[in-house]
Amino acid sequence: MTERPSSSDRDRLLADTYHDDWTTGPARALAAHAAYTVRRRRTLRRLATAATAIALLASSAWWFALPQRSVVPVASHAREAALAAPKTAAATNAAATRGYEIISDAELMSYLQDQSVIVFPDANGRPQVVWLIGG
């Protein structure tokens, strides 16, 4: 051996010396085991991702499928009147042109004093107030 062998040649000789045949012998199992480990990790990661996505979708679907609570209040005319905007000159003019007027609770009570009225629900379920005797 006049020529000094290369580093990789000696690497290979050392590997084969301790493992019989590095490429086809028992040492091959090292690489096979590593490859199996990679595949198992990839599979587990994909399963975890899929499970997370399914859980997110299921929780979203459950949330949107919940019966929505009614947000429309059942309010009487008086209540609507109480909630109405305060009277202003512009509002008064608007009332004159539209043919009805929004009044306060106190005004309504003064109108109803000693008056007979009947209250019944209309087609939409809203209470309708009708004077039995004209005031």
């Binding site: 051996m1 062998p5 580093s7 301790y18 040492a27 490859a35 990679v38």
Partner: protein, 189 residues
């Protein structure tokens, strides 16, 4: 060590396939990069082949967990060395009890295979080869240094391939014995 820092599409493809867990890619990695890793571990383990082999298995598993596409040969080789050293360190830690480990650490503070350890290993290999009978040495040189195929050697020597395989096995066993002896006599740091 190859210091080619240019992009290597072949390495990128190999690491990509390794990251997918392809058996063929891992066998290629084992064939092309395994011997260098083993030598490095054997040097760092002061010639203990069992410790080196176990550390190599741990190194492979770590590489399997963390392998990413890499196209830089020098960076790849450097990363492999770091992983191998770390695996060797952990393997040692597992093998020895606490106080034994401390005692050993005191004797050899560095886990990394120093250049001197690597040189000692290669020197022991060369010395062991030189001690082999000329025929045995020539057979190993033909196979490993001239890279002749087994069939080529068989044709040249007028033997069957099976017979050459048997002679190679015996030659490696003889080399292993001499190498173990040489490494035991090698003074550690």
């Amino acid at each position: 060590m190859e210091t080619d820092s240019a992009a290597s599409p072949a390495l990128a493809e190999l690491t990509r396939r390794m990251a997918r867990g392809e058996d063929a890619a891992w066998q290629q990695f084992h064939r092309e990069h395994g011997p260098r890793l083993f030598r490095s571990l054997l040097a760092a383990a002061h010639g203990d082949p069992h410790l080196a082999a176990e550390a190599l298995q741990h190194a492979y598993l770590r590489i399997a967990r963390h392998v990413r596409v890499c196209e830089n040969e020098a960076r790849w080789a450097g990363w492999l060395q770091v992983v191998a050293r770390s695996a060797l360190s952990d393997t040692r830690r597992r093998q020895f009890r606490f106080w034994q480990m401390l005692r050993r650490r005191a004797a050899e503070p560095a886990d990394a295979p120093s250049d001197s350890a690597d040189n000692l290993l290669l020197a022991a290999l060369d010395a062991s080869l030189a001690q082999l009978p000329p025929e045995t040495r020539a057979l190993l040189a033909a196979k490993y240094f001239s890279r002749e195929s087994v069939q080529g050697i068989a044709d040249r020597l007028g033997l069957s391939a099976k017979a050459v395989e048997s002679r190679l096995t015996r030659a490696r066993a003889e080399l292993r014995e001499r190498l173990n002896l040489a490494l035991q006599q090698t003074p550690h740091d």
